[in-house]
């Protein structure tokens, strides 16, 4: 009985916390009940939360669950990388297509901010490659901006040859490492 009650309480509190996280300002009445949250730790942990979304299970004493919690914004924004020739930072036709797709996705996700990483293959001089990586990231950024993406949403960083995607020492690996890589924040 008491276990069931504790579990119910946990659920309610979890819902509260959830509501707090999603709908800002909700659940102001609950603060006195929050400390127990720490205690029932041995109870099943994050799994019940997921179930709580689908059939809202009769939350009797819940005062304001009015705005049904929408699914958290875990919708992944994924952007395609663009690739370059050795010692080049100019965009190919294929790269422009990829960047146009990326711009469309960014238009659909106006809150997404991105970091463009410029990368080079291992050949050549580190410092020069850092400069080259900077230019590659910059090329991609400029093209996105020209398509209408606000520059304030884009940051760039060059890793030169120091964070390769492929560890091989052949053209197959090198061609994958000469890229502008998009990280969504």
């Amino acid at each position: 009985m008491s276990l069931k009650k504790g579990r119910f309480l946990f659920l309610v509190v979890t819902m509260c916390v959830l509501a707090l996280a999603v709908a800002v300002g909700g659940c102001r009445k609950a603060p006195a009940e929050q400390p127990p949250v720490v205690e029932p730790a041995p109870a099943p942990e994050p799994e019940p939360v997921v179930q709580a979304y689908e059939p809202p299970p009769e939350p009797a004493p819940m005062p304001e669950p009015a705005p049904a919690p929408p699914p958290p914004p875990v919708k992944k924004v994924e952007l395609g990388d663009v690739f370059f020739a050795f010692d080049k930072f100019d965009l190919t036709e294929e790269s422009r297509t990829t960047l146009a797709d990326n711009a469309d996705i960014l238009m659909d996700n106006p809150d997404a901010r991105i970091l463009i990483e410029g990368h080079c293959d291992e050949r050549g001089t580190r410092e020069y490659n850092l400069g080259l990586g900077e230019r590659r990231a910059n090329s991609a950024q400029k093209y996105l901006v020209s398509l209408g993406i606000s520059p304030s949403r884009i940051e760039t960083i060059s890793y030169g040859e120091d964070r390769p995607f492929e560890m091989g020492h052949n053209e197959a690996a090198w061609s994958k490492n000469r890229r502008a890589h998009f990280v969504v924040r």
Partner: protein, 436 residues
């Protein structure tokens, strides 16, 4: 996690006695003459003194350092111990305690004798003598006391004395080399003696740390680190004090300090465009020297501090240029090949070493910045990159992957003698040879 690497050096080596300077300060060999013959030198095994128990490990290490230094110098030819006639058990190390004839017979023009004694507390005393065999006289003698960990250092110190006495120039055997080592996802700055021994880790932050460069007084270094996010410049003194010199987005990399120690040249970027910048030693007052929409970077000071070599791909591919330290009078220096990078101006001022791509592989080249005459130095095998000059301008350190992993090599400026000083499976690159 820095500053632990100098612990060894905190105990001073004590000079115990010194032979009065020889009035005849004759220089035996001119190391700058084009085809100098090598001076044959005998280096018998160091002997225990004053009742010390023989220690073959200790004596072997002392001899290895002396023979290694003098062979590397290119000035000496160390005679094979199999030739030595002297009775090791009978001969002493001081004049009149051995026979010069034993050495003259095998044409050993110079002779280095060493004795060691180990005190009750583990302190080691080393006594070195350099003799002119044909004139039958002592040229220099030194006696030092230090810890067991300082034995190599004391031997390097005497090798420097020998160089100075024989050639009139300062030896480089106490210099060291900073480099970057890959491992565990990070790249950390390391330090080693010039001969690859006594390696120490300088940074330990798990991030990417690059392009170390010495302060001219050898008190510390500047390097680039991603540890705060974007690549910025940090200054680290050898006693562990660190200052961040630049911040913000964009790259700041490849810092080189002017010979007078007052100005830092580096590749920075604004709006994604890399250029050569100058800053004061605190990293303030960013002053942009290049203005084109090209990659301009890798600055290298001329020894008089008035000119800066740098790379630029303003004509489509990276080439070496030089300019005045205020950005004026830009002149192109390299014309051969379509990929010439990482310039290093020799301490003697007459050459710029750089990396050049030939047939898809990278080699070290030298170019005279006045005549624009260029010649290959290293490039028979593998990729060879990142030249850095020894402080006397006679040698170049570089990295090569000819064994499958990047290792640090040393070569003389004629490209004749080449030695690998590191090993292991972790890549090591970007050597920076210390001042004296």
């Amino acid at each position: 996690m820095t500053g632990h690497f100098l612990r060894n050096a905190t105990f001073a080596i004590i000079l115990l006695s010194i032979t009065p300077a020889d009035a005849l300060a004759k220089v035996y060999l001119d190391i700058n003459a084009p085809a100098t013959r090598k001076l044959p030198v005998g280096i018998p095994v160091p002997v225990p003194l004053e009742g010390t128990v023989p220690d073959p490990v200790l004596s072997g290490e002392i001899r290895d350092v002396l023979a290694g230094d003098l062979t590397f110098s290119g000035v000496f030819r160390v005679l094979d111990p199999l030739l030595y006639l002297e009775d090791e058990d009978q001969a002493g190390i001081r004049i009149n305690t051995f026979l010069f004839d034993d050495w003259e017979l095998i044409n050993s023009e110079a002779l280095i004798k060493t004795g060691y004694s180990v005190g009750p507390s583990g302190d080691v005393e080393l006594e070195f003598h350099l003799f002119d065999v044909f004139q039958r006289r002592e040229l220099v003698a030194k006696k030092w006391r230090g810890t067991v960990g300082q034995v190599r250092r004391m031997a390097h110190m005497f090798a420097n004395e020998v160089m100075e006495r024989i050639t009139g120039g300062d030896g480089i055997f106490l210099t060291s080399i900073l480099y970057v080592q890959s491992g565990g996802g990070g790249k950390e700055i390391h330090l080693m003696d010039y001969d690859g021994k006594n390696t120490r880790r300088i940074t330990d932050n798990g991030s990417i740390n690059l392009s170390p460069s010495w302060w001219p007084d050898r008190s510390g270094l500047i390097y680039t680190s991603y540890k705060e996010g974007s690549p910025d410049l940090f200054s680290l003194s050898l006693d562990g004090k660190e200052r961040r010199l630049t911040r913000g987005l964009g790259i700041d990399v490849g810092a080189k300090i002017s010979p007078d120690g007052r100005t830092i040249a580096f590749m920075g970027s604004t709006d994604g465009n890399p250029d050569v910048f100058l800053a004061d030693r605190e990293g303030r007052v960013r002053n942009r020297l290049t203005v084109l929409r090209s990659v301009d970077g890798s600055p290298a000071w001329s020894p008089d501090g008035r000119r800066i070599a740098f790379i630029s791909d303003r004509y489509g591919s990276p080439q070496i240029f030089v300019m005045n330290a205020d950005g004026s009078d830009v002149q192109r220096v390299t014309y051969d090949g379509n990929y010439n990078t990482s310039p290093a101006w020799s301490p003697t001022g007459d050459l710029i070493a750089y990396t050049s791509r030939v047939n898809g592989r990278f080699g070290i080249f030298l170019v005279n910045p006045d005549t624009l005459e260029a010649r290959p130095l290293v490039g028979e095998a593998g990729d060879n990159e990142d030249p850095s000059w020894s402080p006397d301008g006679r040698f170049i350190a570089f990295t090569s992957n000819r064994t499958g992993h990047y290792q640090i090599y040393l070569v003389d400026r004629e490209g004749r003698r080449e030695i690998r000083v590191t090993s292991g499976r972790r890549d090591k690159f970007s050597p920076s040879w210390s001042p004296r």
